[in-house]
């Protein structure tokens, strides 16, 4: 049976009468990587703070490991906040030891975890360096190490990729995958869809404080209309040739060609379009079924949600 590590049920939080999150539900199951997506100001950070008991909801129920998120439960959680903060005057190793000990580790275990973590992130030689003497990226790595030092069962990362260069982003992606392979449960918020698309088992999308999607990646991608892009040297009006298969729109194309986009209707697929073109005598210079991306799903879902809200 699947164990739910975190659950928010009908959670509402208002600031000055305005809802930051409203009737929000979230369930994170053990061993999953859950992507928590949403535009800026959607309520992601507020939801995560509620999940950790940093702020109390006005309504709704929060359960972390089956109980209200008290300080003792937080020892099983590693949290990397969006606003990265670290003691600048402390040495890298000491920062990790401090946060490790705050999470219940012994001094010896925390020191070992600090050294191992720094080695793993290529900062073994910087252990005795003060944070203020490090680059922003290095300091961010130290904070990630501090988040994971106590080997938490549940890892919450709020916008973990922001501020990292592509090499370190890749390293962090690998780290998230490694932790997931070790059976850890991971919840991370982001608005960079590529990371979510590559990593997530489950995606939760929030907009204006309300959940607009909760499901797997294929399910999310299925929300995006499938498209086929065609370029042709023929003078055919493809609206007439392909009109029965979906919505056809003229597009710009290289000189001497005409461009079209077909948004496929339910029950049609790219093969039907190709067959109709061949039968209609359309000479194809380009025929490209477009693969749906999470980015498109995100935009589609948020826009649909906004339209419905209006």
């Amino acid at each position: 049976m699947t164990e739910t590590i975190l659950s928010l049920e009908g959670v509402t939080k208002r600031y000055s009468g305005q809802a930051a999150v409203s009737g929000f539900d979230l369930a994170v199951n053990r061993g999953q990587i859950t992507g928590f997506l949403g535009p800026n100001g959607a309520g992601k950070t507020t939801s995560l703070r509620i999940a950790l008991g940093i702020i109390k909801p006005d309504d709704g129920k929060v359960r972390l490991f089956g109980q209200y998120p008290k300080a003792a439960i937080l020892q099983r959680v590693g949290f990397l906040p969006e606003e990265r903060g670290i003691y600048k005057k402390m040495k890298a190793e000491d920062v990790i030891i401090f946060f490790g000990r705050m999470k219940g580790m012994t001094m010896t275990a925390a020191r070992k975890a600090a050294r191992d973590g720094l080695e793993r992130f290529g900062l073994g030689g910087e252990a005795r360096k003060k944070i203020k003497e490090m680059s922003k990226g290095m300091a961010q790595k130290v904070q990630i190490i501090a988040t994971l030092a106590h080997d938490p069962e549940f890892i919450i990362l709020d916008e973990p990729f922001s501020g990292l260069d592509p090499v370190n982003q890749k390293m962090l992606e690998e780290m998230i995958r490694d932790e997931a392979k070790r059976g850890k449960t991971i919840l991370f918020s982001t608005h960079v869809m590529e990371h979510a698309e590559r990593l997530c088992d489950q995606i939760v999308l929030i907009s204006k404080g309300r959940k607009v999607f909760d499901g797997g990646l294929p399910q999310a991608l299925s929300q995006v209309p499938r498209r086929v892009v065609i370029e042709t040297a023929s003078d055919h009006d493809l609206r007439q040739v392909l009109g029965a298969l979906g919505a056809v729109e003229a597009q710009t194309a290289p000189e001497g060609l005409k461009g079209w986009t077909i948004e496929l209707a339910a029950g049609s697929d790219a093969q039907d379009v190709l067959k109709a073109c061949v039968e209609g005598g359309v000479r194809l210079a380009r025929f490209e079924p477009m693969r749906a991306h999470l980015h498109d799903a995100f935009v589609e879902l948020v826009e649909t949600s906004n339209r419905e809200a209006v």
Binding site: Y15, R49, L52, G53, I54, I55, A71, L74, V77, F79, P81, E83, R84, G85, I86, Y87, K88, K89, M90, F98, F99, R101, M102, K103, G104, Q143, A146, I156
Partner: protein
């Protein structure tokens, strides 16, 4: 508890494990020693000042001024020897010391006074000799002396050139038969001017008494009379009722504790504010809040800085006690009642309330400063919120300074009932034995107010930590209050 301990430990070590902390900690006694040393050196390094007397009356005012200057030196010498006598338990020798010095002209009786004291001292008569030296006037008129007074011409004394510091001219005339003029470019050093005036007054008064038929012998006896007064405490038996320096020390120490308490709370709460703003600016709070709860962070910080102030007190207390003991071993400071000072400082009746008042005062002001820090990202932002706080904190300091010699003043009594000032002002009043009911009532008021302040400040801290309130929110709130009041 563990989170509180770790927070406190981190806060403590963030100060104590730095070179800067120890340098500033040790620099303070050093700077104080330097200040005291400089003022003693400045006092002892007064230059010799040459003056001339133009006496057109023929009375001999030059000798009378010398006598007045010697009188001042005698008084200083008696005061110094009296201090040694009191400190070394030889108060019984004081009348003999005074008699020995007063019996001889100038300081010629000093060696006999030291013999009467019966305790070896590292004090010489030369220390008390006046630095004013009379010279024969190089000219017979003020106009003739003017170039010397202005430094355009100099006197040659022992082969060296010196300017004339001052000239005093006595002439017949005026309401009392003699007038005097003091001429000098120096406007601040008034010792000679005072001696010249006293010489003139004594002469005029003596003449008037002689005119009234009192003989010179009787006058001499009258001037030799120098009755004293002992200060006694009705709380003691007749035999041991006399009050001495050791009895006054607890009052002095009580006031010193009160001022020290104020300074300590003021400086440590400022450290709290700076640390809080730094954490807010570095955005560490959210990371901490995923590990510990608000109250744990708040209490941890307060305890950490309290430990820092305890370190200050222990180190300074240690240096002070060691310094006192060391000083007493030096002959020059033999009159320092080090034992009495230390027993007054470590008196449990003073020390325990001082610790209690420090704890409550620190909690009250510390949480407010932390709350202000949680609202601000920079020190500049904090300054505008700090101004009213600083004013509130300055009031007890001003009251203590204004009632230094009057710790039982009615104003101080009323002001000590204001709960936010109670820790400082009751401390200052403690040695005046305030009524028990008054102590209990002010303490209850202070504790209740502290609880209310801590609770409100904790709420503000929670809002400020998560960015739900900032300096502008408070300003808006204050403006709203003003509008409502209007």
């Amino acid at each position: 508890m563990r989170a509180i301990y770790l927070m406190a430990r981190r806060e403590y070590l963030s100060y104590v494990a730095t070179w800067g902390f120890w340098l500033s900690l040790l620099a303070m006694p050093f700077i104080m020693a330097v200040f005291i040393g400089i003022s003693i050196m400045a006092e002892n390094a007064q230059p010799t000042r040459y003056y001339a007397v133009l006496d057109e009356t023929g009375i001999g005012f030059a000798a009378l001024i010398d006598e007045e200057l010697n009188e001042g030196a005698k008084e200083e010498a008696i005061a110094a020897l009296r201090g040694v006598a009191e400190a070394s338990g030889r108060s019984d020798a004081i009348p003999a010391i005074e008699a020995a010095i007063n019996a001889e002209p100038g300081l010629e009786g000093f060696p006999e006074a030291v013999s009467a004291l019966g305790v070896p001292v590292d004090i010489s008569a030369a220390q008390f000799r006046s630095n004013y030296v009379r010279v024969d006037p190089p000219a017979g008129t003020i106009d003739g002396l003017r170039p010397y007074l202005l430094g355009e011409q100099t006197l040659r004394i022992d082969g060296e050139k010196h300017p004339l510091f001052a000239a005093v001219r006595f002439q017949p005339g005026g309401e009392y038969g003699i007038t005097a003029e003091y001429w000098s470019t120096n406007r601040t050093s008034g010792g000679l001017r005072t001696s010249a005036r006293d010489a003139l007054r004594n002469h005029v008064r003596s003449n008037a008494l002689a005119d009234a038929g009192i003989s010179e012998t009787v006058l001499g006896r009258i001037y030799a009379m120098s009755p004293g007064i002992t200060e006694n405490s009705p709380e003691r038996g007749r035999e041991s009722s006399e009050v001495n320096l050791a009895d006054r020390l607890p009052f002095i120490v009580g006031i010193a504790f009160s001022i020290g308490l104020w300074m300590m709370i003021f400086s440590v709460t400022n450290m709290l504010l700076t640390a809080m703003i730094e954490e807010k600016g570095n955005k560490i709070l959210e990371t901490l809040l995923a590990t510990a709860r608000y109250h744990e962070i708040l209490i941890g910080k307060l305890l950490g800085l309290a430990a820092v102030s305890a370190t200050f007190m222990l180190v300074w207390g240690g240096i002070g006690s060691g310094g006192l003991a060391g000083l007493q071993a030096l002959a020059v400071a033999a009159d320092l009642p080090a034992g009495d000072i230390l027993s007054a400082v470590f008196d449990p009746g003073l020390l325990i309330p001082a610790i209690g008042y420090f704890a409550v005062g620190y909690l009250m002001y510390g949480t407010v400063y932390l709350a202000i820090g949680s609202l601000c990202d920079t020190l500049q932002e904090a300054q505008s919120l700090m101004s009213p706080m600083i004013l509130v904190m300055m009031v007890p300091f001003v009251i203590i300074m204004a009632t230094l010699e009057n710790p039982d003043s009615l104003f101080l009594q009323y002001a000590s009932w204001v709960p936010i000032w109670t820790p400082f002002l009751m401390m200052a009043r403690l040695q005046t034995d305030p009524a028990l009911i008054e102590m209990i009532a002010t303490s209850v008021g202070m504790l209740l107010t502290a609880a209310a302040i801590i609770s409100l400040a904790s709420y503000v801290f929670r809002q400020g930590s998560m960015g739900r309130a900032n300096a502008s929110s408070i300003k808006r709130l204050l403006k709203f209050g003003k509008i409502r009041n209007a």
